[in-house]
Symmetry: C2
């Protein structure tokens, strides 16, 4: 095999597929990128069996062939080579020679015979949206997934297509994040639970381009993200997701409208009084046109007032400040509306169209 690439094309392709290379594995073949130039296209693939990425790359094929090369070393070399043409050549023993200008590297490669290609995906149920929208949907919800997998379902996000809208839901037992985007074309109903890890990786390779289209295909067990020259296939999490709609309610006793930045900065300051790892709640005391945040700890105490407009009853309610901060940071609006029923019932932050809903459970506090 002998191929020639520009550094920038090669670097881009290696970066994309590297996202599917596991950081730890006992199977050396999974640490590899497969370079396949057996046809007239050059394709790079990485696949950790849960998540697989394949991308087509522009380059000259001087001699057809394929080889699997350790992804980490390969990407380090490509990154540090000068901005010039890079040649990759293999011999009969699959030793890869990577050369550019006066620099020559030799690496032991593998035949790639035991490499797993991406599974074939039926292109039956599909939706399209911009890469930018998908990236935003992920960023605005992913923090609400659970980190440890005591409950596997909580580590993923529900992708629900219904009435020409995609709704994405993440929950970790203390909070729920919901985002909705309308789709431009009619689509079949879908419910799929996508692993959080897949979403974290795909978020890194999606562009911020609102014009560039991404197509999602759903099957029983897989989701395929297709954009530009790249395909990302991920297994889905099996099972029935939580019944979200039962947890949502639009009743409230108190409605508060607050400047997002002022509220966020104030909560951020309140966390200075809470030691890392300490679960101390902050107390939000809503009285008339004033919201008072306070916290008292062995470090000291803090009190701050934020201007609000209020509808309904006064209320005093405790929160884990991190949950409020995460939700507020994910919202772009200048002002946010918050809805509460009682100090024991969840707080809702949502817009009128319900393009976003953030539900946060309150915390008990001693006054």
């Amino acid at each position: 095999m002998k191929l020639v690439f520009t550094k920038s094309n090669l670097n881009k392709a290696v970066n994309i597929v590297s996202k599917a290379v596991p950081s730890k594995t006992t199977m050396p073949i999974l640490e590899c990128i497969l370079i396949d130039a057996e046809t007239n296209d050059i394709k790079f693939t990485a696949n950790d069996m849960e998540l697989g990425i394949e991308t087509k790359i522009e380059g000259q094929i001087l001699e057809k062939g394929k080889v699997a090369i350790n992804a980490k070393i390969f990407s380090d070399i490509v990154r540090k080579l000068p901005d010039d043409d890079i040649t990759i050549e293999t011999d009969a023993n699959f030793t890869a020679t990577i050369s550019s200008c006066k620099s020559v590297f030799h690496l032991a490669g593998q035949s790639g015979e035991d490499f797993s290609y991406l599974p074939a995906i039926e292109r039956d149920k599909k939706i399209s949206l911009s890469q930018f929208s998908m990236k935003e949907l992920i960023n605005q919800t992913i923090f609400s997934t659970a980190m440890n997998d005591n409950n596997k379902m909580m580590t993923g996000e529900l992708f629900e297509v219904q009435e020409n809208a995609l709704r994405v839901v993440a929950l970790d037992g203390h909070r729920i994040a919901i985002r909705k985007v309308n789709l431009s074309e009619e689509a079949q109903a879908v419910k799929a639970i996508v692993p959080g890890k897949t979403l974290v990786e795909i978020q890194k390779i999606l562009s911020n381009d609102a014009e560039s289209t991404l197509t999602l295909y759903f099957t029983q067990n897989h989701i395929l993200f297709e954009f530009e020259n790249t395909k990302v296939v991920s297994r889905l999490i099996e099972g029935e997701y939580f019944k979200i709609n039962n947890m949502l309610s639009s009743d409230y006793e108190t409605k508060v409208t607050v400047n997002k930045k002022a509220f966020l900065d104030s909560i951020d300051r309140s966390t200075l009084m809470i030691k890392e790892g300490d679960k101390k709640p902050i107390i939000v005391d809503i009285k008339e046109d004033d919201l008072c945040i306070s916290v008292k700890s062995e470090i000291g105490n803090m009190k701050e007032n934020v201007a609000i407009t209020k509808e309904g009853k006064d209320i005093m309610i405790g929160f884990n400040p991190k949950f409020l901060i995460d939700a507020l940071r994910a919202i772009d609006d200048e002002n946010v509306d918050m809805y509460m029923v009682s100090p024991k019932a969840p707080l809702f932050i949502r817009d009128k169209e319900e393009n976003y809903i953030y539900l946060i459970l309150p915390v008990n506090f001693s006054n």
Copy 2:
């Protein structure tokens, strides 16, 4: 005590003195910043007994007094407060109230009676240079000090004033870094070993301003850096520094001139073949007008040629690539001159005026 500051003044002063607050200590008073407004000036001081920093800060004194406050929490609060006036007030129990806009913090403070002020320094032997020059001198040598203090002397740098020049020397047993700047005024001879830790911290608070003057005062046991409103006092390391001049030689068998960036990039790439923690050397093979860098390891092998102009004999010599990289990064020149005698003798990288000299010991290699 009651004082009012602008946020930016307060933030700057807290950042400066925080550099002398130890990250770990068993004495809570050392974790504090002393705010002293007992006279008509406001001074902030921190002192870990090795290194002490005092800075004068502009502010309104509404009521005189002093208090010691935990530096970490105080600086976090100041940083996160809005960009507005900040008031610091203490009561009879030394509880500090820090307030700005609608935000109020209460922290337990201390009287500051047991706080150690900076030692008085005799202003007899002194030199002046720009803050920028001092910052550069430190950055261009500090990497050559030893990290662990098996030999205390190696953790510091020699400051030597002689014939109206300041020479700074750092060595760790494998290499030596020497930088020299000429002084504009006549000065008394000085030899002082300044702790590396002091230099690391002072480098962070010096500005990049080539117009702004820094004055250094030397006594038997201390060095004082004075600039703008700030004084930094550090203990010196006791003892007689290594006899550097005996280690320097201007004889050579091979002189090589090379483009610094090309050489540096090439060495950088060669390190890709060396696992972290592995002490494998790179081999530099100089023949005619060509310098060939090569390395062979279990990862793979790499070879690269760099154009040079050469005087004298061919030579093949091994190096720890990190030492070459550190020295080359500290040099601003487009081309550098390297002088060698044999594969067992040190390499010198130096300019004609000897404003910089980097000595690097070679490493044995099997061919």
